[in-house]
Amino acid sequence: MRTGTQAAPPSVSGVAGNGAQRRPGVPFLAVQDLEKRFPLTRGVFLGRERGHVHAVDGVSFEIPRGGTLGLVGESGCGKSTVARLVTRLLEPTGGRVVYDGNDITHWKTRALRPLRREIQLVFQDPYSSLNPRRTVGAIVAEPLRLQHLGTRTERRARVREMLAVVGLNPEHYNRYPHEFSGGQRQRIGIARALVTTPKLVVADEPVSALDVSIQAQILNMLAELQVEFGLTYLFIAHDLNVVRHISDRIAVMYLGKIVELSPADELHVRPIHPYTEALLSAVPTVETSARERLRGRVVLRGDPPSPVAPPSGCRFHTRCRYATEICSAVEPPLVDHGGGHLAACHHPLDGRTPVQATAT
């Protein structure tokens, strides 16, 4: 409903695979085979490379204008690196980032500058992402100042307007971040992100540090702002319920790869990848009788493997309860299981794929 006014119908919304078919209509943000390797060096100066961390390894997705893609995964899965690549705070080592029809993958700083107005970030920690020595007014005005937008008076008026939009008192312009609660600080962060009237907002765990009652306030506000300003969201979080609430589509990442990409409503009802199943089942809930759920819970063994030396084949096979020989040998492709629900698995939970027949 929230996105319905601007968004294309769900059938057209963000579908992409490893070189999957292009659908009609240009997506607002398209990411193709995105890759980021960080070199690992030894020694302080002139360190020699001794390997790579493959933080993001062949990630593809699309977001239609006004849509929301949720990106979930555990720490170290590369979701924050995706945020930094899409916003071009980092330069990809492979693949493409196409923003509004422009391939911005390797644009230089100068070329990117005008784009910074249109692509903004909201950060997780409302404490460390606001400079404690500057007033709220100065913090929110900073993007305008850097972009040389408006005169001082105009900027001041705009900042007051934004503070009101995010539900803060515009009179608090001259206060400092420590005078605000966590939820209010996150509102300041959002005001700063929206002050340049961006089109794409990348929110990296924007509610994870907040109390639950405040979390709901911020989620509702982000939803309202999306309709009001026609924003496109890339929403990153580790909380599946939070992501489901705000997204049209959800991509689940594991060790630098998307393992499942699905319409938001379907992921919870019909997970296809065993990792998604385990994630869903691990989320503690008050909704159903807890003790009943505990019996059926899928508890993963061990920790996610190191991205420096990811497992062969399917990266999840070391922790997967359905794993067979093929899983450690062959990497499963991300394929459509119908209705734009993609998954990369040799033993999908819906049992629907030709790949499974060849497995032993």
Partner: protein, 338 residues
């Protein structure tokens, strides 16, 4: 008498900005083999309550009143050296962030050994053997090698297992866990909660689990205390508090959560406003400025924590019948929202 009884606990801190009334008349108890869950938002006083049990709030600017009875002995009256014998040995605590709870420059084996030798005169060799046994019990792979690892070489989940091993190595009667899984991924959280549950079953430990996550509470606690602004809003058996909640704050917490069943087109139902500063707690019921059901009496008079059904107590001025009716509606809305 319960194993641990907290009676009318008050903890105040004098600060430059004023007196912080962190815990304001809290009474709780937990017995062997049981889990007491304390849930609340930041600043609700849940951590200060736990720290006070451990004697960790004995600061020059703190005023502590009330009783913390461990098997009938008031820990608040114990001199520091006596308390030191209780702490770690009879009551152990684990914290949210295992990285900052472990010393970065000492090996795991040394740190576990130190915990043992602080309380018992045993040889290094014997301490090491017990450390190894503890690491094995908490399910750390290749525990013998891990004894010579430094904390930074372990993942977050493994570090929390080390903390649990350290807490349980002296076989304490009570384990206080303050947000033990908040810094962990959900799949690891499930492992750690399972581990605590299994260890509790084996050792008959009483567990006090402090968390902001009602879901975690619903899956682990036997009794639940909902805290707000240093006071208990609602207290009772898990089934009563989660399935038949009677306090507006509990309702708010339950409804704020985006659930797996929540309709995505419907906005969430947050609680208006923010938790109050503990320097200037609202008059009467501390929750009244955020409460959608506020009555004229609420700002004037602090509601007493009264029993509504056996073992289930609530501090609210609303008529009992109305509370039950709204509570049932809230509960129904959680189960049916699709």
């Amino acid at each position: 008498m319960a194993l641990l009884e907290i009676q009318d606990l008050h903890v105040r801190f004098a600060t430059r900005d004023g007196v912080v009334h962190a815990v304001d008349g809290v009474s709780l108890s937990v017995d062997r083999g049981r889990t007491l869950g304390i849930v609340g938002e930041s600043g609700s006083g849940k951590s200060v309550t736990a720290l006070t049990v451990m004697g960790l709030t004995r600061l020059p600017n703190a005023t502590i009143e009330g009783h913390v009875l461990l098997d009938g002995v008031d820990l608040l009256g114990l001199p520091d050296d006596e308390l030191q014998k209780v702490r770690g040995r009879r009551v152990a605590m684990i914290f949210q962030d295992p990285l900052s709870s472990l010393h970065p420059l000492y090996k795991i084996g040394w740190q576990l050994g130190e915990a043992i030798q602080a309380h018992e005169h045993v040889s290094d060799k014997a301490a090491r053997a017990r450390a190894l046994a503890a690491l094995t019990e908490v399910g750390i792979p290749s525990p013998a090698e891990r004894l010579s690892s430094y904390p930074h070489e372990l993942s977050g989940g493994m570090r929390q297992r080390v903390m649990i091993a350290m807490a349980l190595v002296l076989d304490p009667e009570i384990l206080i866990a303050d947000e033990p899984t908040t810094a962990l991924d959900v799949t690891v959280q499930a492992q750690i909660l399972d581990l605590v549950r299994a260890l509790q079953a084996d050792h008959g430990t009483a567990v006090v689990l402090i968390t902001h996550d009602l879901g975690v509470i619903a899956e682990t606690a036997d009794e639940v205390a909902v805290m707000y602004a240093g006071r208990i809003a609602e207290l009772g058996p898990l089934g009563a508090v989660i399935d038949r909640p009677e306090h507006p704050y509990t309702w708010g917490l339950l409804q704020s959560l985006p659930g797996a069943e929540t309709s995505r087109s419907e906005p969430l139902h947050p609680i208006d406003g923010a938790p109050p500063s503990l320097i200037s707690v609202p008059t009467g019921c501390a929750f009244h400025p955020r409460c959608p059901y506020v009555l004229p009496v609420c700002p004037a008079k602090q509601p007493a924590l009264l029993e509504t059904t056996a073992g289930h107590t609530v501090a609210c001025h609303l008529p009992t019948a109305l509370r039950r009716e709204i509570g049932a509606e809230v509960r129904a809305s959680l189960e049916t929202r699709t």
